[in-house]
């Protein structure tokens, strides 16, 4: 049985972006297409926006301004930004509850995202959804889902609609390593391949589902092979390197767009903070986290390249940081001062 799950079928062209390095054993990084100066700067700016936004959200949570569950994306920024750099207009995104970064990547106003976190009327869902449940039809962002695994079938449905309309769009469906064990993931894989639906299944493997490591939850731990029995091609990608993510995403999106069916990308990444704000994270060592932060940080990697290549000076990068902080502070300011929803909103948007 295991033998059939080894290498996948489907196209496995040797694009420059193919990478099998994992975040933890990063030594033998294969050649990755270099970014231009503009691309590096864009990636830097966008990832920094997510990082600073999430730090601010954590702070507002501590002050009691954000309630409930709040799952931060810190450490995983390269995954969503790499995909965003590869996607075309009209491609959709859908994910679970760790969704703030995806929304920022889809170009949503940080004010609207932050005001949703504080539950105010200017929030993306008018304050009614909260951190885990946000959507934007306009920007092709389909949520924000609180039930682990549910978005995988929904994302496959977006792809079904794309193929139905033959509009050339691709659904980028994100889910965690923990979510890969839910049954509906495999039901969706089967239909996606059976009907050749344009969906990239993006597994964000950050090594833990809440307090459970992949090894303790999964019989086989190479999650890129999870589509093998359906013939869905998959590969592991260094999810801490935004260039590797972009290259792999371009290839996967092209595969889907050309009518060949779904594609699986397993992004090897890491979350620095606890699962949610209330997770003391006793299941992993401080050293493990610290090692990731100092050796593999996705933002530092870009920063170092920019400095090394003399594409930006320390001062210029500081200036970018300052601008990003301004945007985030403005969002936080707005999110604290915007009024709560009108009480009449309690009874709206239930049925049409």
């Amino acid at each position: 049985m295991a033998a059939t799950a080894r290498k996948t079928t489907g196209t496995r062209s040797k694009s420059a972006g193919r990478s099998r390095s994992s975040a933890s054993k990063s030594k033998a990084a294969p050649s990755i297409a270099d970014f231009s100066k503009e691309e590096e700067l864009e990636a830097y700016r966008e990832m920094l926006l997510i990082r600073r936004f999430e730090e601010k959200a954590g702070q507002l949570y501590g002050m009691g301004l954000i309630g409930g569950f709040c799952h931060l994306y810190i450490g995983q920024e390269a995954v969503v930004i790499g995909m965003q750099l590869a996607k075309k207009d009209g491609d959709q995104m859908i994910t679970g509850y760790r969704d703030h970064g995806h929304m920022l990547a889809m170009g949503l106003d940080p004010k609207g995202v932050m005001a949703e976190l504080t539950g105010r009327r200017g929030g993306l869902s008018k304050g009614k959804g909260g951190s885990m449940h946000m959507f934007s039809k306009e920007k092709d962002f389909y949520g924000g889902h609180g039930i682990v695994g549910a978005q995988v079938s929904l994302g496959t449905g977006l792809a079904f609609a794309n193929r139905y309309r033959e509009d050339g769009r691709v659904s980028m469906t994100f889910f965690g390593d923990g979510a890969t064990n839910q049954g509906q993931v495999y039901e969706s894989f089967n239909m996606a391949q059976l009907w050749k639906l344009p969906v990239v299944f993006v597994i964000e493997n950050n090594k833990y589902g809440m307090g459970t490591s992949v090894e303790r939850a999964s019989a086989t731990t190479d999650l890129s092979h999870r589509g093998a029995s359906f013939g869905i091609p998959g590969e592991q990608v260094d999810g801490m390197d935004v260039r590797a993510v972009k290259a792999a995403s371009e290839k996967a999106l092209e595969h889907c767009r050309s009518g060949k069916g779904p594609y699986i990308l397993e992004m090897i990444t890491y979350r620095y903070r606890g699962h949610s704000m209330s997770d003391p994270a006793k299941y992993r060592s401080k050293d493990e986290v610290q090692k990731m932060r100092t050796e593999r940080d996705p933002i530092e990697q870009v920063r170092n390249r920019l400095i090394e290549k003399k594409w930006a000076s320390e001062d210029e990068l500081k200036e970018i940081d300052k601008k990003v902080r301004e945007v985030v502070n403005e969002a936080a300011e707005f999110a604290q001062n915007d009024p709560e929803p009108d009480p009449s909103e309690l009874y709206t948007d239930i049925l049409l």
Partner: protein
């Protein structure tokens, strides 16, 4: 200006915590991300990270202090270049008393009733022998103790669910069980509700006694087919040859600000199904006695807990083997003017309302249902025959609710004793909103219970 470091909120339900330890001392320099202190809540010990940089100027709350309210200033941080003199004005401000917390329920609007206050005393529990000594226990501990006692008693009992073993439970209910019983009997599952629920039903059919923990009952919806089509119906379909002696337990209902997909009360859903028993405990004693009964019960039992109640303490009898009967309600308080029927967290509103009503001269009898299926309607009818009035209280949606069923059965069997229509106080008929103000409106409150009682007693 020195920056105030405030006691952070670290979970959806945290209101206060213990400042367990200062990792930094006065005079230490701090950069963003440094751990400065450790805080203990009833669930966990958490680290507080600095958000700003500077020097820790003054510690305002000493380590070891209990019950520090969220947002209380705990220390002052001096920015670069500031010295301790900057602290003086600021610290004085920080120590000023905090504004009083807004009360949870709107005060009853009517002027105090002219009637003299009546006594409102908890009734004795007939299931606890007189003279038994009582121990203050949280609902969380009571649930754990119940499982541990039953696992010691019967080798076939085992616990499975997400994060129940090594993490000690997402809500710390299974604390210590892995240590005592080992990984064979305390089993961490993948996130696979439909699969592990079906697996547990199969194990029960084969003679084991599974306790399935759902991290919350919202996630049991992934598994509801196995609960209903497999667990509930097999005994009947097999002509009595085999069934599913097991417990499905976990947090049910709203927590705090966790939004529509994580805030739902499933009592009515499961109570609808023949072949299931449904239990919804309120106090720690309910939790302990009923969970032990549920584990011993030869049927599938849905055991609906509540995250907010986990940290509440109640008196639990200090008995070798305290088991409560499933399907039997408890008169929580005796009264004569109105019957308030509730269960689970609904009881918290009922009890507070009864206290306030007593002050207005209205004597309320409170029936704590404890079980939803079988439903102890006899106890309700008996009480209604005495008071002539009934108000039900629950957090679930109103339509086709447990209240609907109780109201229906009461009109069927006690129509002639009713002096007013039966009223229900429930959650509003809307998905749970996230915004703080809307969430408050969506949930019932004590004021609504008082208003309903006034309406059925025709009190202005």
């Amino acid at each position: 200006m020195p920056i105030e470091i405030l006691m952070p909120a670290l979970s959806p339900t945290m209101e206060e915590g213990k400042l367990a330890k200062w990792v930094k001392s006065e005079g230490d320099s701090v950069t963003a991300g440094d751990v400065i202190a450790e805080i203990e809540t009833d669930k966990a010990t958490m680290e507080v990270e600095a958000v700003d940089e500077g020097t820790l100027g003054k510690i305002l709350v000493a380590e070891g202090t209990d019950n520090v309210k969220v947002n209380t200033p705990i220390a002052m941080l001096l920015a670069d270049g500031e010295d301790a003199s900057a602290l003086e004005g600021a610290a004085a401000k920080a120590e000023a008393p905090a504004a009083p917390e807004p009360t949870e329920a709107p005060a009853p609007s009517a002027a105090p009733a002219p009637a003299a206050p009546v006594a409102s005393k908890p009734a004795a529990d007939p299931d606890i022998p007189a003279g038994t000594s009582m121990v203050s226990t949280t609902v969380r501990e009571a649930l754990r103790d119940a499982m541990a006692e039953e696992m010691r008693r019967d080798e076939n009992v085992y616990l499975m669910g997400e994060e129940v073993a090594e993490y000690q439970g997402a809500y710390k209910i299974s604390q210590g069980l892995l240590e005592e019983f080992g990984p064979k009997r305390v089993v961490d599952t993948p996130i696979t509700e439909h699969g592990f629920t079906g697996l547990a039903v199969g194990a029960a059919m084969a003679g084991l006694r599974p306790i399935v923990e759902f991290m919350t009952f919202n996630f049991a919806m992934q598994a509801i087919d196995q609960i209903i089509n497999s667990a509930a119906k097999t005994l009947y379909m097999s002509g009595g040859q085999m069934g599913a002696p097991m417990v499905f337990r976990g947090a049910n209902g709203a927590a705090a600000r966790v939004g529509a997909q994580h805030s739902q009360d499933y009592a009515a859903w499961y109570a609808h199904v023949p072949g299931l028993k449904v239990v919804q405990p309120y106090s720690a004693a309910d939790a302990k006695g009923l969970l032990k009964a549920a584990i011993r019960d030869p049927n599938p039992v849905i055991f609906l807990e509540n995250e907010i109640l986990y940290g509440h303490s109640f008196e639990v009898p200090d008995m070798e083997d305290f088991v409560l009967p499933i399907g039997k309600a408890k008169i929580e308080r005796e009264g004569s003017d109105v019957t308030i029927v509730s269960w689970g967290i609904g009881m918290t509103y009922a009890v507070k309302a009864a206290d306030e009503l007593a002050g207005m001269g209205i004597s309320a009898e409170i029936v704590n249902m404890r079980s939803i299926r079988p439903l102890d309607i006899d106890t309700v009818i008996e009480s209604v025959k005495k008071t002539g009035r009934l108000v039900t209280v629950e957090e679930a949606f109103p339509v086709c609710s447990v209240s609907s069923e109780i109201g229906f059965q009461v009109q069927e069997r006690a129509f002639d004793w009713l002096d007013a229509p039966v009223l229900r106080v429930t959650g509003k008929d809307v998905p749970m909103p996230y915004a703080a103000n809307l969430e408050k409106l969506a949930l019932p409150n004590v004021g609504e219970v008082i208003d309903a009682v006034k309406a059925v007693t025709y009190t202005s």
